[in-house]
Symmetry: C2
DNA sequence: CTCCAACCTGGAGCGCGCTCCAGGTCAAGC
DNA sequence: GCTTGACCTGGAGCGCGCTCCAGGTTGGAG
């Protein structure tokens, strides 16, 4: 069940080995288990965190904020309000990000339509 | 009509003065006009390009690719096919980006709902 | 027991996209 | 004519998020 070698954790999470070590080094992942010889052993729990980190990273949360979130979670249950708030603020930023992306995507599509209406080559309109 | 001082161009485009200079230095903006004394004068045309650059930048196109596009446009009308293709490929990447963002946003929302269903504090499920 | 691939550490390096700086020039208003 | 703020240049520096490296250790297969 639990207990994955580094390479396996990398494969399952989609993060590189170096990134997993980096995340531990900066305190995103804490208390990763080790074998007697010092090699990492990742648990299902660690993988769960990695799934969350991927979600937050893909939505553009800076690492410093992920660190903060992870630290709050480690601090215990009395931080749930703050964690909730942190995620809500982030969600709002993501919504804004999505709106902007959609808007600019529409511009892009319009630009593309310009090329598709071309044959006959209209004048002017430099950023062709 | 045309003919904007650098600060005005910055204001209108939303790019910083340093960024405008940087864009010219790396060949995104080419042939920016100058006064006799060497100070830049931006045209409506330049501003048009800047709008496009903002669109491409906001949708995540790397600068190298914007450079390529701008160079093609300067090369003349026989490059319209290639420009069209470049934008289409980019649009496809943006669509993928939007799908990913939506998916991860949904995850995030689910996580937030977890906090909102909390009071009573369920056990387990570490990445709280 | 030996081998070798996978792993370890600390720290340097990188790619991107700016951003800042020093030291000097330009030009509009008084 | 003088002042002063906006502008110029080349080049260094930065913040982010990794990524790579050297040199050494571990541990499962044969």
């Amino acid at each position: 069940m639990s207990g994955y070698a580094p390479s396996e954790a990398a494969r399952r999470s989609g993060f590189s080995l170096d990134t997993l070590r980096y995340y531990e080094k900066i305190g995103l992942l804490a208390d990763v288990e080790r074998t007697a010889g010092g090699q990492r052993v990742f648990t299902d729990d660690d993988l769960g965190w990695l799934v969350l980190f991927r979600c937050l990273r893909d939505t553009g949360m800076p690492i410093a904020q992920m660190r903060r979130y992870a630290q709050l979670a480690r601090d215990g249950e009395h931080t749930t309000d703050e964690r909730h708030e942190l995620l809500c603020h982030h969600a709002a930023r993501v919504e804004e990000q999505m709106r902007l992306l959609q808007r600019q995507y529409d511009h892009l599509r319009e630009k593309i339509r310009f090329y598709e209406r071309l044959p006959g080559t209209a004048p002017g309109s430099e950023p062709g």
